[in-house]
């Protein structure tokens, strides 16, 4: 193996490509290769290739190989990679408007959220990245968030009072859990299995996919399929580089992306029942909690976050039914 093969590679840094030129893009993301996002990235690569007759290609760097999300964004800014799938959770630390997507119970199904990504307000949120020199191209969804509990069947938010729950360290998510009286903790993912097994935590905010791949069903008895939040990543690119691309190539990129995103949503939606069954078969009790139970928490969230920015307010107004 050698380091010598990068000469032939046209890295993204060579700007001003004319249409008709061969180009290999680099895309980085944080998930392992069995995750829907990686499959969507692969689909994006296939589409790029076929729509450009082999002229445009994609190299994928999965599983945080190139660093944390902060790194990936930085590398997109500097131009060493071309695309990143960056979670809205991370982006909301840089562009607070992305917190809008974490409105609890905003969307009943993945398809609904996927429709919402095409709306003007969603696009306005994307363009809030432009002042950072980043082009938010589109949203890509993973499975919705569910709640996993070790040995207490939570039926109402009141049951969550005092529970220690692992929640992604993102303010809107943690605020939602805090409003139920739970104590959210931002434990690193690799420690979660052991932490719930031994009782360091009583449960977690997760998606069905990771509950299966990380075998949390072995150590947690209850899975409440609340689908209370969506989990979008944002496909971002370097703005000036993207806008410097020939019109034709830009269209190929956005069309390919659209195809990959639709593919991911369709595939993941079809898996919902399968995942629930798989967890049941592995001894986890899968049940639902009515969104009505969370009325108080929803109102509290809407109120606090509507005050944070007019964009968030508009987003909540549009999608809260």
């Amino acid at each position: 193996a050698g380091c010598g093969n990068s000469k032939e590679k046209t890295t993204g840094s060579s700007s001003g490509n004319k249409s008709g030129e061969k180009q290999t893009f680099k895309l980085a993301h944080i998930t392992p290769t069995d995750h829907m996002w990686h499959k969507a990235a692969e689909k994006f690569g296939e589409e790029l290739k076929s729509r450009s007759d082999g002229r445009l290609e994609l190299e994928i760097y999965p599983a945080s190989q190139l660093g944390t999300e902060a790194d990936m964004v930085q590398q997109i800014e500097s131009g060493s990679i071309d695309f990143g799938l960056i979670t809205a959770a991370y982006l909301s630390a840089r562009a607070p408007e992305f917190a809008a997507w974490f409105m609890p119970y905003g969307f009943t199904t993945l398809e609904e959220a996927n429709e919402a990504r095409k709306s003007d307000i969603s696009k306005k949120i994307l363009s809030s990245l432009e002042e950072q020199g980043l082009k938010g191209l589109d949203y890509l969804f993973a499975g919705q968030r569910v709640m996993i509990f070790k040995d207490k069947q939570v039926k109402t938010p009141a049951d969550m009072n005092g529970l220690k729950l692992r929640v992604t360290p993102s303010p809107p998510m943690q605020d939602f859990y805090r409003s139920t009286g739970a104590a959210p903790e931002g434990l690193p993912l690799p420690e979660v299995y052991a932490a719930i097994q031994t009782g360091v935590i009583d449960g977690m905010d997760m998606d069905l996919d990771a509950t299966i791949t990380n075998k949390y069903y072995e150590v947690a008895k209850y899975g409440a399929v609340t689908n209370h939040m969506v989990w979008p990543s944002v496909v971002i690119a370097n703005q000036s580089k993207f806008e410097g691309m020939p019109e034709e190539d830009r269209k190929i990129v956005t069309d390919s992306l659209e195809a990959a995103i639709e593919f991911a949503v369709t595939t993941r939606s079809a898996q919902e029942e399968e995942f629930k069954n798989e967890l049941s078969e592995n001894g986890m009790e899968i049940y639902e909690i009515s969104p009505k139970e969370f009325k108080k928490q929803i109102d509290e969230f809407d109120q606090i976050y509507s005050e944070k920015s007019p964009l968030i307010k508009e987003f909540i107004k549009t999608y809260r039914k």
Binding site: E77, A93, P169, Q174, P184, E185
Partner: protein
């Protein structure tokens, strides 16, 4: 330069004491708060990592001043006298050159507008505060290495 390097060493040591003590206290308290008061300190993990990073760059710089970082001393043990001095000068110059390049890009990075809008995920602390460990620690390191280039220092180290 030697004087500046010595003053910096003093600053580094004081910071090491404060930051390290803070780290132990924060992590211990976060266990206690979770267990006895059932209310985790959500920012504890984040802040202790910031402390670890600061401590790394300060300690790393200190280690370059006293040449205490792991290296292969094979050749250095074999040679003596002028040969040893020349080897030391080559070592120092190449490290200074390296730090010069890194520092150029580090300062460019730390002053980027996009760095200034970043906030930490739980405390919402401006990220330039923890990020500054890189330019400050590496600048200190470069000063130490330049000070080690002085004839007196080369003579002393060469005699060891």
């Amino acid at each position: 330069m030697t004087r500046i390097s010595d003053v910096i060493t003093k600053i580094e040591e004081i910071l090491m004491i404060i930051l390290m003590a803070a780290m132990v206290i924060i992590v211990t308290f976060s266990v206690a708060f979770r267990y006895f008061f059932n209310s985790p300190i959500t920012w504890a993990g984040e802040v202790s990592i910031f402390l670890l990073i600061w401590v790394t760059f300060l300690g790393g710089s200190w280690g370059l001043k006293y040449n205490s970082q792991a290296s292969i001393t094979f050749l250095m043990d074999k040679v003596t006298g002028n040969q040893k001095k020349i080897l030391m000068i080559i070592q120092l110059l190449s490290m200074i050159l390296f730090l010069g390049v890194i520092l150029f890009f580090t300062y460019k990075w730390i002053f980027l507008p996009s760095v200034h809008i970043q906030k930490s995920s739980s405390l919402l602390l401006p990220m330039w505060i923890p990020y500054s460990a890189v330019p400050i620690g590496l600048s200190f390191a470069a000063i130490h290495l330049i000070a080690r280039l002085s004839p007196a220092s080369i003579k002393r180290e060469g005699a060891e």
